[in-house]
Symmetry: C2
Subunit: 355 residues, 2 copies
């Protein structure tokens, strides 16, 4: 599950050759010998053969083969991925919301008068039905109370700690076990071919950064998310520190995704992956550029192994994002590729038995 790899760009064959031939380099961190890449690098072992897998392979070949008319120089190989519902499970509720709900007792302990104030009172009651009915406005109050007001390092440590204990109710496994294995393989395949992989999520930028390197092999600076302000303060010993402020600088959803991409990357992605209307503008932004482009949408149509929701599926969409029929129609019209979890993915999670 964890890539545990601080240097995702390494192609093993070339790396081994390089080490054998260049004894002068011994003592150099392996991470430093990056990116001597071939198009074959990486495998898509958890993908069934089909149009979706082929679209990925064709795009990578077209953009990395120097003889190709669609060749893209390495510095322009930018790939962006939505997270919730695209890289990991988003049902029945975003993991970050679960985190925030789980943090409420600690927040109330620090500020006991919140005990009798809504929506904190409802969360503390443990009444799942009532909690599920909380409005978006209520959830925003909980997000602000649980995601801001502490130093950035303290927040990071709290998220990391939570991930070691919290479990998804259906699988009774850590949320980081619920990464889609086929998408991990796509991330690695792109990186093996010189693409810089970015997460572009409506979730909190600092939340996702707390685990992006370990879980996705993506360093914090390649996480674009909803951005809250920070404020510099000084400790008694004169050392400065940053506190997370209840001030939203960027809502990285819908139109906010291209805006966040410009802010954080400054270039238009060559390829973009999403699964909901929140990703539409990001895919349109990638699509509107010149040359080879690859836009893909994950369709949740596998109630047995994961969930089924979105166009022509039974389950209602999540509270925040949804794959509408209109998005499905736009994808067809613009020749974006829809990934069927049921048909295109041999296995969904690393913990499943291979077929």
């Amino acid at each position: 599950m964890k890539s545990g790899n601080s240097s995702p760009n390494i192609n093993r064959r070339v790396l081994v050759a390089g080490l054998a031939l260049l004894p002068a380099l011994s003592g150099i961190p392996l991470a430093a010998i990056a990116a001597a890449q071939t198009t074959q690098g990486g495998s898509l072992a958890s993908w069934n053969d089909g149009a979706a897998k082929q679209a990925i392979i064709d795009f990578v070949r077209a953009t990395t083969d120097q003889a190709s008319p669609k060749f893209v120089p390495p510095e322009d190989r930018i790939a962006t991925f939505d997270q919730d519902g695209t890289l990991w499970v988003e049902h029945p509720i975003y993991s970050q919301i679960v985190y925030c709900l789980d943090r409420v007792p600690a927040v109330v302990e620090k500020d006991p008068k919140l005990k009798d104030v809504e929506p904190f009172k409802t969360v503390l009651s443990g009444n799942r039905e009532a909690i599920a009915k909380l409005s978006v406005q209520d959830l925003e109050k909980i997000l602000i109370a649980t995601l801001t007001g502490m130093p950035v390092e303290e927040f990071e440590a709290e998220v990391k700690n939570w991930l070691t204990t919290a479990k998804h109710p259906r699988w009774n496994r850590p949320y980081t076990d619920l990464i889609y294995q086929p998408m991990l393989e796509v991330l690695e395949y792109f990186r093996a071919n010189g693409f810089k992989t970015y997460i572009v999520t409506g979730g909190g930028q600092d939340f996702v950064r707390a685990y992006s390197q370990n879980v996705y092999g993506i360093p914090p600076e390649q996480v674009v998310g909803s951005i809250g302000g920070t404020k510099l303060g000084y400790r008694k010993d004169g050392k400065p520190f940053l506190t997370k402020e209840p001030k939203l600088l960027l809502n990285d959803d819908k139109a906010g995704k291209p805006e966040g991409i410009h802010l954080m990357i400054g270039r238009r992605p060559r390829t973009a992956f999403g699964n909901s209307d929140g990703d539409r503008q990001m895919l349109e932004y990638a699509w509107a550029g010149d040359g080879a482009r690859l836009m893909m949408l994950v369709l949740h149509d596998d109630a047995k192994r994961e969930y089924a929701y979105g166009p022509a599926q039974g389950l209602p969409a999540t509270k925040f994002g949804t794959f509408t029929q209109a998005l499905y129609d736009e994808a067809k019209k613009k020749s974006w590729t829809v990934i069927s979890m049921k048909n295109d993915w041999k296995r969904i999670f690393a913990f499943e038995q291979g077929t």
Copy 2:
């Protein structure tokens, strides 16, 4: 002057060795063969021997030698550099301000009623003395009028075009010729040793991104600057585009520098270079972390080859930034290294004759 190098991580000696020994790699973009580094990589040829040069070498050795107790893994090697006055000339006025003043006629042409409105009227008059007396508020109006309201690609093209024609009044050379050669060498030296180099500037993020790759070998996503909002719109053909909005998301100066570093990088830099009070908080932020740290300040004390201003110098500070005596005292107290342009730099610009 221009590095013209899309892969700033290449150490030439190792690269050449690698190419000779690894014929299997032919056909792979040179950019892909990055970072096979030795601590010796890069040269500081424009530096005189002395405490400043030695501090840089000692820091790089301590952080990259795996046997060193201060070894830093490659993913944590973050180096941040102020731009104006640290990487290139900031006197008599920031280049970006010159750009904005130069753009005023084009803005007035599009919106003729501005012709009789201040501060545009003064700028159009060409009266240098009156222009020099414009207040910060007046300049802000000019900045907003000239830096926003157009698509991001159009802005980038305008800046690139301006840089090919505009010249610094003293040297009668393009502004990009006025990069400090010793600092270019430091950037390359850090990169050759696995550091990711970032510009952290009070200037506009999009402005600096227009030339950062060509001039400094730093890609757009590694430029942290003052950030304006953008807004997504659609052309008639359904293609989305981003327009620069007159909305400041981050003023990347003073306390805004650590805040911008957290926003864009998400990690504390190991080393930071600046030259004014606007950089104080960034240097403090780098200094306050654990392990090996290197904080450096460029002192402009060379009236003959460049300018002399700041502590105990003759020339007044620039309108926006200044190296105060208090900062100088703080540097001494915290053992930050002050670089004397006069004594530490053998040559300042690439176009000078070497000594």
